[in-house]
Symmetry: C2
Subunit: 231 residues, 2 copies
DNA sequence: CACTATATTTCGTGC
DNA sequence: GCACGAAGTATAGTG
């Protein structure tokens, strides 16, 4: 990994066009040829970048460029698309290089899969007397997150999201339409369960007779004793 | 901005839990207290991070930690949420610090907003005699990108995308359903306009009586004389 | 290899 | 400030 602190301007031409005026920034060149341009603010997203695989070509400035104060021009070309990043360096303040090796990668816990496991284990969160039929119930158009049976014996399809918005309601609607064609299952009720449900999604769900359920992950996690196994 | 190359392990506890095993990485500490942890690969997204505003607290290791080889512990605490990042440093290879100042920021051209402006200006791309009613026509379920009137005086709702896929057709369908309930507007025709329209989206649109229109951004940009002002 | 669904999404914009 | 939609979305899982 190569780290350069430099006063530079940047132009990107590819899926769109973008320009960064002259300023001091960090240029990070990774081993796979990708380049990240970071300022001293914002979030984790760089101001501009080139995704790997890419190749970096360094050129001396032409006469006009030198006149404009450019001491070096970097051209970062994507290997797969015709996206291009042109970095015009006006002043270099620092340059370091380090061998980091391959990273072992991130271990996560608490994503949708964990929510699904917890709700399957605590299926009565849906209501008194509910029983689990199965998780990831396969249909022709994809898997239904959870299929259950209510106290009266009716089938219930659950769509699970960390954040519930309209797309999730549309998805559940498609499943319900399909499941209700199966005489062995019909009539199938729908439940839209998420940690947070957006107002518009709630309105749409209600309009389609779908029940909304807000889940408290921490509370459900507290009930589950396997939470401490990971670390 | 502070740049540290170190052998470290990282634990994140917040909206989810995540763990990074011991390895050599770049730690980037920004002026707003945010921290980014980068490996020498992947894309522009860091392995782990803390969003601003945040505060970094550095602590000497306790007896057990020192025994485990830790020379320093960083605790990055989010100021707004209770997200926390704990970085255990085992070996430091490099440390530099630079004053970058405030960045002037990125100038973009070619995103959906530009397409929308161009199509509104060149509304007859939709057809002979079309007139613009307004852009971003607000409804209860969100804004319709462009509302126009055709030569016969009928209302036309346009959904605009850079890349047209099924989601966009679903979105337009919802708008049309709503708009057609309004007797002042009904009947409302739908037009799905994008730089590229996927075959599946085209089929779905046709099935619902929605017209598809492929836009040539460069050509539309060429007509507009304000395109040259940006750079 | 293509499609699909998720994301500690982040980022801008309108209300 | 909140909610919603776009992103050069990126990324991981599955058929």
């Amino acid at each position: 990994m190569r780290l350069v602190i430099a006063r530079c301007s940047v132009d990107y031409i590819g899926r769109l066009r973008a320009h960064l005026p002259l300023a001091v920034r960090l240029l990070m060149v990774k081993a796979d040829g990708s380049v990240l341009i970071h300022s001293d603010g914002g979030s984790y997203k760089p101001l501009n970048w080139m995704s790997p695989p890419a190749t970096l070509r360094v050129a001396e400035p032409g006469e006009d460029d030198a006149e404009a104060g450019i001491i070096e021009t970097w051209t970062v070309q994507s290997a797969k698309t015709d996206d291009k990043l042109v970095i015009s360096i006006h002043e270099r303040f620092s340059e370091t290089s380090h061998d980091l090796g391959v990273d072992p990668g991130l271990i996560k816990d608490g994503v949708e899969a964990d929510l699904q496991r917890l709700l399957a284990e605590q299926i009565t969160k849906l209501g008194e007397g509910y029983t689990l039929i199965r998780r990831e119930y396969m249909t022709a158009i994809g898997p239904v997150d959870i299929l259950a049976r209510d106290a009266a014996g009716a089938t219930v399809a659950v769509e699970l999201k960390r954040r519930g918005d309209i797309d999730g309601v549309e998805q559940l609607t498609r499943y319900l339409e399909l499941l209700n064609r199966d005489p062995l299952l019909a009539p199938v009720k729908g439940v839209f369960a998420a940690q947070q449900i957006k107002p518009q999604a709630r309105v749409l769900a209600h309009d389609r007779g779908i029940e909304c359920l807000t889940l408290d992950y921490d509370a459900m996690r507290g009930v589950d004793d396997s939470a401490s196994r990971l670390f």
